[in-house]
Every structure is written in C-alpha cells, then in structure tokens.
Symmetry: C2
Subunit: 245 residues, 2 copies
C-alpha cells in the first residue's frame, strides 16, 4: 500500500464533449496531473527524476468507468503508487463524485526510461521510497486485448504543436483523442465506454503522421471496438474499448 | 460599466505547451468559461438564452498579452460585459497574476444568433439587463487586420469530435490551435505573441476539412504573422498576430 494523494476539481465546460460529459483525454490528464502534484510534494518531481537522466513513461492503462462525470460537477481525483518490481510501477487512480461514489478506476503501469539509451531502466529504490510503494517480485500480467483483424475505418492525424507537453513528446492523453475520434460522431454521442484496455508500444514524435484504425465487434454479451494506432508503419498503441450496451 | 465577475484558476501542466506556458487555446477557454459562469449566476445561462431560440456567437477578438502565465501559477480571470448596441455586445476579459499584475487583456464582440434563420438577431434588453451593461448607439470599429497576400505555408485540419462543444459546433478556442499549429515548431518555441486581432466570418461544421494558412511579415518595427482559415473554399476566420521582437 502506497501513500494516497487526493485533489478536488470542478469540471469546466471546456473539459467536456458535445454531451457535456468529461472527455476521455481530459480524464487521463486529470489523473496524471494528480500524480505529478503528488510527486512534487514528495520531493521527486519530474525535474528531480530528469536530473538522474530518467523520465517516466506509461506503458499500460486499464480504465473502468462506472459513470462519466459531467460539466459543473466537483470530483475528487485520488492516486496511489501501489507497488513496483524491478522494471515496472503499478499506480492506481480513482475519480469520486460529491456523494463519494466511484466514477472511474484506473490501473496503470509506469516505467523509467533512460534518456540516453531511450530504453527502460531499472526502477531506483530512492525514486520510489517517498511513495511508500510495496516492492514486489511479480510482474503483473495485463488484461489481454482482443486481437485486431480488419479495420472498419481509419483516419490520419498529424502530431500538432499543442499535442506536445513539457517532456517534448506527445502527451499520453492525445492517443485517446486519436482512438476516439476515428469512431463515428453518432456512435460517440450514443455510447459511453465502460472499460478501456490500452498498451503503448512506441513513442510518436512531432510532425509524424499517425493512422488510427478501429474494428467494431458486436456480440450478444458485449459491444467492443478494437484499436490500433500506427506511425511510420510501426505500431504505436493498441487498445480494446468495451461500451455500455 | 457592467458588473465585474472574477474566478481564480491554478494552471495544471496539461493546459501548457512544451515550454510550460499557458497555451493560447486554453487562454481563450478560461476567458469564455468565466463569462459562462457569470451568465449562470445572473440567471441568463446558455440554456436560458436557448429557450428564446438564440445562441451567443463571438465575432471578434483583440488580445493583448503582457506575459503568458506558466504552469502552477494561480491566476485571476475577470470579465465584464461592458456595453452593447442593437446588434453587438462588447465584453472584456483580464487575466491577472498573484501579484495583481495584468498578464492578458481581451476585448471581444459577441452577438446573438437566431437558431432558425442562422442570422444575427437584435440584442434583447432582458438578456443584457442582469449584466448592467451600458446601452450605446455606436458600433465600434475593430482594429483592422493586415491584408493577407500570399501564404508562406498551409496545413489541413479535419474537425474532430472533441473540437465540438455543447453548442454542437466547433469551440472558438479550436480556431486558435489551427492558427498557431500551422507555424513552425521552432518559431512557436522561440516567440511569444503580444497582440492577436481576429475576426470570425463563418461557422465550421463537424467533419469539414479546414485549411490554415499564414504569411510571415518581418519589418523593422514589428514581426507579424497574417492568417486565414478557410473551409469549403469560404473564409472562416482571419487574424493578425504580432510577436514580441
């Protein structure tokens, strides 16, 4: 069990979609922003980690949505760096509404990248110590994705200047806008995601073109979309989104 | 003199660019959000105006930037619906930093659109009364734009689902991302705008492709970029941005 940290946030209209529901990219931004503030308060800010020649990257998300908060609601965002092994850190996020009900639960996997080699570095105990995360031996197996077969539709996106954050690469929330935007407007207006499983495979850089593809799967038991984002013919990110039926 | 309204806001990392400065689209979102909250508190929310078959549109911005606020700063956003005539409402916005210094001053022109005819409707006194705006005869002449001659560069953008807001059209802040993104990354990293003059000419709808073009003007006295955004071969928005030298 790591130290828990929480912040409150009132959702302005500009963080919402055309249906006044919190957008998924903003949901991710709120979560990661909360962990950034916790890290600063514990004296292991991004700048502190940079001084070691390292930077945080996110490799996996598993997002369970009970209800998307709406414009004007004041939510509590909570995070906890739960545990870590030699290479991966397991961090959880929660979004609660004013009644204390859980709207969103996010499990994520973070790793440290060595800026020089651009490869994953082993986790340093001193970076993790302030979070009081449990050190474990096990490497957790993420929930598998549904296999991608044949694209129902695809759209191209050019990386924009405002997609970059202070790490000089595409902010991880932007991938969610590529994943969702490729879907039809009417589908997005009529459906709410209930579970998103996502793997990041490769960084995308400024000016690159990405291709976002999806495949619709409609079964008796579930409605899902399977996603791939490719850049320069290399898989950058893949995901499965399960939708409320 | 209208009623003034102010809110404070702490700038999270995700509202900033790669240089940790507040992005221009977020600057606009913060301003308009502040006027939305004031309108709600005065009992003339967007929903109330909608019931009259009307909706607010913005036709002109003139933005003077002394300093762009940075990540982590707590700013005060202030607005005042200063005056109005038969067709136009003149609303000002300010962003102050913690020391009370003015970072940004925005003059804007709002109008009411009739949803049925899609044309500008005359301003209703009952909609404006709660703001205590001064009724004037004069139609103010906006600062002229530098004439656009020949594009230095152009980029295409497809309207995305998350570009739409609850009014079901492209949020006005999105135009600023098209205006800025067409510029070179190195130019954007090295320069800060000091004045932006912008006219909106025509709505852009979901799924349309827009072409954002700019022309660089380097004079002894000033450095400026002139901008046009076209959609379906019609001028949607034009602007002049003056940059700190």
């Amino acid at each position: 069990m790591g130290k828990k940290f929480r912040e409150t946030h009132t959702i302005p209209f500009y963080e919402c979609d055309a249906k006044r529901r919190l957008t998924i990219p903003t949901l991710i931004k709120l979560a990661v922003s909360c962990s950034t503030v916790q890290s600063e308060q514990l004296g292991v800010s991004e700048e502190d980690v940079e001084k070691l020649g390292l930077g945080w990257i996110i490799t996996h998300y598993e997002i369970t949505i009970s209800r998307l908060p709406e414009q004007g609601e004041t939510v509590t965002v909570q995070t906890e760096a739960e545990s870590y092994n030699k290479f991966f850190c397991y961090r959880n996020f929660w979004i609660f509404d004013e009644s204390g009900a859980e709207c969103v639960f996010i499990e994520s996997v973070f790793a440290l990248m060595d800026f020089e080699t651009r490869k994953i570095a082993s986790v340093r105990d001193e970076v993790l110590a302030p979070f009081e995360s449990e050190k474990i031996k096990k490497i957790k197996r993420p929930t598998p994705l549904l296999p991608f077969e044949k694209a129902t539709e695809s759209k191209d996106y050019r990386v924009r200047f405002y997609d970059l954050d202070a790490n000089q690469h595409v902010n991880n929330a932007v991938y969610f806008s590529w994943l969702f935007d490729v879907l039809d407007r009417s589908f997005l207006e009529e459906h709410v995601p209930e579970k998103i499983v996502l793997n990041f495979n490769k960084e995308v850089r400024y000016g690159e073109m990405v291709v976002s593809e999806y495949e619709l799967v409609e079964e008796v038991e579930f409605l899902a979309t399977k996603h791939q984002v490719n850049s320069q013919d290399q898989l950058s990110c893949e995901a499965t989104i399960y939708w409320q039926k």
